[in-house]
């Protein structure tokens, strides 16, 4: 039984189960003075749920267990001699068998392997059929039981609503479990890194050059993993970005929320939001091709010599990228300040600008700070612009005209290319990742707390 015929089969059962539940409920209602406690459709839905849920669960189980079961069967089936004669061990052998095209095997393939592949194919069909029939019989049974339950005592609506809630909870758990899984794998890999490099050297070391030697006798055969230059680089670029984004973003938010007419607003606001959707690689392009050289020529003019890859180019463009983020969020926050406060201020004889400065902005401040912190954590996590405009040289410097690099950029450079997955160099990426994760996590928590406090005040 194939997957598609299975789906169609289930669909047909589903429709008839719903129809039967519904009709049975209608019949009960019309044959007696007593009425069912819920509307007929809920009885149909109830049966449907008891069909669909077990099906989904079964399919999920099948998908997760399938490989494991088949591998075990195959390993037991393969003759020992074949296993011993195959270089690379049993796992390689299994992988090799799986890649064989049984209809049209590559000429010269070991016939024993082809036999194994055919065996695997048959077994796989067999296992699938068992699973699908198992799923069908269990869910049809459950569906049947639930149809039997239809009576004047049974409150189907409550049961349906309960299972809806269960479904919603399951979905939200998926997101949470994924996040937790990611964090744990980060921690796990980072631990392996800290087995090779001390955590103290990592957090407080001043030099970052993770190039492991290719040969043992090479100079600097041991890379150095001091993360300080990366974090200062990140901070420097973030700082420059914020110096650009905060004043401009806030000013445009104030204009939008307080001064612009509703037509201007309805044009500018969507435009800003579109700007927020420009892929960062495009901004990176702009930074590398236009802004970087501009700063270099600018400096040339005054007789300085700066690199065309510089913190200021990357930070500046990143700032521009973040402007819509800050202005859009702050605009919402400023608009949410109750009109009654503005009226109160006007009625005291305050001008528009006094009202903004002394009443509206202070009232919106917590929300604005929240917006800024969210923007900061976005800047910290930004990679593309920095790769393109600030370079990958890990300089420990506070000079914005020099090339610096950031944590995210290093993670990328550590992981691209052919790498062994247990070298310190690769594992360092995870250590950086978890550190960065902690930083932005705390920043976000703090930002959310501030935004929360702001919400409480006016509700």
């Amino acid at each position: 039984m194939g997957f598609w015929s299975f789906s169609v089969f289930i669909l047909i059962i589903a429709i008839s189960a719903y129809w039967y539940g519904n009709t049975k409920a209608l019949r009960l209602n019309s044959n007696s003075i007593e009425k069912l406690p819920s509307l007929p459709k809920y009885y149909g839905n109830y049966a449907l749920i008891w069909l669909i849920f077990p099906c989904l669960l079964g399919v999920f189980l099948w998908i997760t267990l399938n490989t494991y079961i088949l591998d075990t069967i195959l390993i037991n089936h393969l003759p020992k001699e074949l296993e011993n004669s195959f270089a690379g061990g049993i796992n390689m052998l299994v992988d090799r068998v799986k890649t064989i095209n049984i209809d049209n095997p590559f000429p010269g393939t070991n016939p024993e392997l082809i036999d194994a592949a055919i065996f695997l194919e048959n077994k796989s069909n067999e296992v699938r059929a068992y699973f699908l029939w198992g799923i069908i019989s269990i869910s049809v049974l459950l569906c049947f039981v639930s149809l039997k339950k239809i009576s004047f005592k049974f409150k189907a609506r409550q049961a349906v609503e309960k299972s809806n809630v269960t479904l919603l909870i399951l979905c939200s758990i998926v997101a949470i479990i994924t996040t937790v899984g990611i964090v744990f794998s980060l921690i796990f890999e980072a631990m392996r890194f800290f087995d090779q490099v001390s955590i103290f050297d990592f957090l407080f070391g001043l030099s970052w050059s993770p190039q492991m030697a290719i040969r043992e006798d090479q100079v600097a055969s041991q890379g150095s993993f001091g993360a300080i230059p990366l974090f200062t680089g990140t901070l420097l670029i973030t700082l420059i970005a914020m110096l650009v984004a905060i004043p401009v973003g806030l000013a445009s938010a104030i204009y939008l929320a307080e001064y612009s007419s509703s037509t201007t607003r309805s044009i500018i606001k969507p435009l800003l939001e579109i700007l927020a959707g420009v892929p960062t690689v495009v901004y990176g392009f702009f930074a590398a091709i236009t802004v970087g050289p501009f700063f270099r020529e600018f400096a040339d003019f005054f007789g300085f010599n700066i690199a065309s890859e510089s913190a200021i180019a990357a930070g500046g463009v990143m700032g521009i990228m973040i402007i819509p983020f800050i202005s859009s969020l702050s605009d919402d926050v400023i608009s949410a300040v109750p009109q009654s406060l503005r009226d109160g201020s006007y009625a005291m004889g305050a001008t528009h600008s006094e009202t903004i400065k002394r009443v509206v902005l202070p009232a919106a401040l917590p929300g604005i700070v929240g917006a800024i912190l969210l923007a900061v954590s976005r800047a910290i996590g930004e990679t593309m612009i920095v790769v393109m405009a600030a370079g990958i040289a890990a300089n420990l410097t506070s000079n914005p005209f020099e090339a610096v690099t950031t944590v995210t950029v290093q993670i990328v450079t550590l992981l691209v290319g052919d790498q062994e997955f247990d070298s310190a160099k690769t594992l360092a990426a995870f250590a950086l990742g978890i550190t960065l994760f902690c930083m932005t996590l705390f920043l976000n928590l703090y930002a959310l707390k501030i935004v929360q406090r702001y919400r409480e005040r006016y509700e």
């Binding site: 109750p338 009654s340 406060l341 109160g344 006007y346 009625a347 005291m348 004889g349 009443v359 005040r457």
Partner: protein
């Protein structure tokens, strides 16, 4: 339209002459003409939507802040037209204070709430003077005793009635001549209402007060004169006692006896 003569020999503080107000095309007020006496409480009553708040906002030009709102006619305060081109509404509003329906203290400390007006108008030349103004205003608003130990707490931490008195203190801190109140007690419980009403009795010795209220009893209790509005028209104006005992018009009578509203 009935216009009462000057009651006793009080001086006229505000004089509304043929005031009409439009929101875009809709006429919200229609040729309102009457006089408001100095240092008296004048109440504006009428069913909701009849234009009481709109009229009140004409008196301190708060209507200017609503884009679609156009005011025609003249409002004279001390015989000067406040809609004349040379009048700055910002300065006018320092002379005509306003208290709103829902207490709207700024999210600042109690002290800063009251100090707001004096500091933007530069009324105090020193810190001591500012503090003096704030404390006197709180005293006049009958709030001082309750908040003297918590002046640096935020204004929104007070109870509704206290917040409303804080707003009154804020308004009188700039020494206005007139105080407008738009249903100042509608968000308050009966006890807080009684306290504010007592305060109004006290304030009227120094200020001209115009109060919008939807409570007939309140109008009867606090005001000397009453204006009855209906659908954008001023139906009847006169001494409160006269309006409530012998209304001249049927609409007034119906409203007072609860038949319309």
């Amino acid at each position: 339209m009935k216009k009462s003569g000057n009651l006793m020999s009080s001086k006229i503080k505000i004089s509304s002459k043929d005031v009409s107000v439009f929101y875009s095309q809709n006429k919200a007020l229609n040729n309102i003409t009457f006089d408001i006496d100095e240092k008296k409480v004048t109440s504006l009553i009428g069913p909701s939507g009849c234009g009481k708040s709109t009229f009140l906002r004409c008196l301190n030009r708060m209507n200017d802040t609503i884009d679609i709102c156009k005011v025609k006619g003249k409002v004279l305060i001390d015989n000067e037209d406040i809609y004349a081109p040379n009048v700055d509404p910002v300065l006018l509003r320092a002379r005509v204070g306003m208290v709103f329906q829902k207490p709207n203290p700024f999210p600042k400390s109690i002290f800063d709430n009251v100090a707001y007006g004096p500091s933007i108008h530069g009324l105090a030349s020193s810190k001591d003077e500012l503090e003096n103004i704030v404390l006197t205003s709180l005293q006049r608003a009958g709030l001082y005793k309750e908040v003297k130990n918590r002046l640096s707490e935020t204004g929104t931490s007070l109870s509704g009635g206290q917040q409303q008195r804080l707003c009154i203190a804020r308004a009188i801190a700039v020494s206005p001549e007139i105080i407008l109140m738009d249903e100042p007690c509608s968000a308050l419980d009966p006890i807080a209402t009684a306290i504010v009403e007592e305060l109004i009795d006290e304030l009227v010795k120094n200020y001209t007060i115009v109060i919008v209220t939807h409570s007939m009893q309140q109008a009867a209790r606090v005001s000397q004169n009453t204006a009855f509005f209906h659908m954008g028209n001023l139906i009847e104006f006169g001494s409160t006692q006269k309006i409530f005992s012998t209304p001249q018009f049927k609409q007034t009578q119906d409203y007072i006896t609860g038949k319309i509203g």
